[in-house]
Amino acid sequence: MAKSFLSIERLTQQFPDGQGGTLTVFENASFGIEKGEFVCILGHSGCGKSTIMNILAGLAEPTSGVVKMDGFEVSGPSLDRGVVFQNYSLLPWLSALKNVTFGVRARYPDWSKSKVEDHAREYLAMVGLDGDVVHRKPSQLSGGMRQRVSIARAFANHPKLLLLDEPFGALDALTRGTIQDELLKIWSGTEQTVFMITHDIDEAILLADRILLMTNGPFARVAESVEITIPRPRNRTEIIEHPNYYAIRNHLVQFLGTRSKELAGKKSDEADNRPETVRIDKTATAPAEADPEPAARLRAVND
């Protein structure tokens, strides 16, 4: 397999279980992400998604295994890997603008003050924040606006990899939709590589090129990598008309509903737990037939 832009190799995370033993959250997880790709990871709580995210961000150390980005091993946090946290993580004593310039200044220390500010304003404008709003403190902003600031801060830094940890988890459904659209808009303009955790299947289908599915923990693993065969640009009202939409959605629901449990808790015997690639495409003609039917594949996995 060709080396991916981001490659996660045999990542294992164990924690002490409080009774002298160890609890293996996931074991030998391996997968790759290509440059410019938007990848979502779906799985139930406790399967270790956030742990994987923290390891990719460099905020946590895996028990074993390596993460390589651009061929270099990742160790510790870096400006090359931007993070948008679920709880926004804005500094409450700084205004929205200052929160963004805080990041830009760290990224480009030799830029002049006005250049830093212009750059920050440009990215705030991209998420729909301009005018006097940018001088407000986070406590004076709504949850959606705070998350916009957080997204602007991450994109303004041009990280090589952008990590989104359930960025819309705390937002109401309508705000969530608007910000998803904004995220898509900025993302398509920047060719940013994105890795995102989510609980929301529809959100994942709308945003992602590929969805990684995790089984339940302990001994969770990244079981499948589902390609989203819906062409871009996508629009939330149009994609549901696409023939692949419900096929993919049903596959995901089925995985999360039943198979994630069935596959859980099994200690793997394979050394390298690469996810199986699943491609569901009802529009394609010749190549699709070469692919096994999803149903047939499911049986194979269950055996």
Partner: protein, 278 residues
């Protein structure tokens, strides 16, 4: 009529009423000195005609305050200095001891707040030293330092260090992990993290500690100056007691209160400046 006033106006009105009633009550409660002519011969022979020391009525205190405050900085020898000079000495001692304490307590508090090991190592010492009445240090300070002025400053130092130290440590230890992670993902060095993230995040707690400290320092300076003597508002109170000039004693007590209030208010302003809402 009262319905038209705001809450603040009503409160101010009530304060004024309480003040006037209190002063009137005080004024009338003080028995007038008997004139010499009204005394019996026996009373005159036993010195009853000399003015008796007594709690002065507020009118006398106000007259004294007017006299003192209209010329606060006169200096007529060691035992006769204006109230401004005395308060100036006290403030100088408090601020010197306090700033020295802040210079030790805030960096040390940062260390203790950031490191579990440092916290556990320092904690027993802090717990033993903290409850010691600052004046208990005075004899030792006088002997070791051999200078009453510096000893008073030392006492201020030792009493104001604890609230600042503990609050700084508490504030720093309580900085949200998320904000530290923001600093980490932005590759800030430990110095810049301390100044741009941890310090502003912990500032409200630190300032609260500093505010408690300045209050304690101002309480302690009066007692310390009564002991070391020479100058200062504490010495002034004691000196006027020795002179049996209760008018001056009451006046200086009020001045201690006013200065204490101003110091606290200054920190209140500072506290509002660094406060943030999450």
């Amino acid at each position: 009529m009262l319905d038209n006033l705001s809450v603040n106006q009503r409160a101010a009105l009530l304060s004024v009423v309480m003040l006037v009633v209190g002063l009137l009550f005080w004024e009338t409660a003080i028995p007038a000195q008997k004139a010499a002519a009204e005394l019996t011969e026996y009373e005159r022979l036993t010195g009853g005609g000399a003015p008796k020391a007594g709690v002065p009525p507020p009118s006398q205190v106000i007259a004294k305050a007017w006299e003192q405050l209209s010329n606060p900085f006169y200096d007529a020898g060691p035992n006769d200095k204006g109230i401004g000079i005395q308060i100036g000495y006290s403030i100088y001692r408090v601020l010197t001891g306090y700033i020295l304490a802040a210079m030790v307590a805030i960096p040390l508090g940062f260390l203790i707040g950031m490191s579990q090991v440092a916290y556990k190592a320092f904690n027993p010492f802090i717990q033993v030293l903290r409850p010691i009445s600052p004046l208990a240090w005075m004899p030792l300070a006088l002997f070791v330092i051999q200078d009453s002025e510096a000893s008073a400053i030392f006492v201020i130092f030792i009493c104001s260090i604890w609230p600042m130290l503990l609050n700084t440590a508490f504030g720093v230890a309580g900085v949200r992990e998320d904000w530290v992670n923001v600093a980490r993902t932005h590759e800030l060095g430990s110095f810049r993290t301390a100044f741009t993230v941890i310090l502003p995040a912990a500032a409200p707690t630190i300032i609260t500690g500093m505010r408690i400290s300045i209050g304690i320092a101002w309480l302690v300076i009066v007692a310390a100056e009564m002991l070391v003597g020479g100058t200062g508002i504490g010495y002034y109170v004691w000196n006027e007691w020795n002179n049996l000039d209760l008018t001056s004693v009451i006046f200086s007590i009020l001045m201690i209160g006013v200065v204490g209030m101003l110091l606290d208010a200054a920190f209140g302003v500072l506290q509002r400046a660094v406060a943030y809402a999450e």
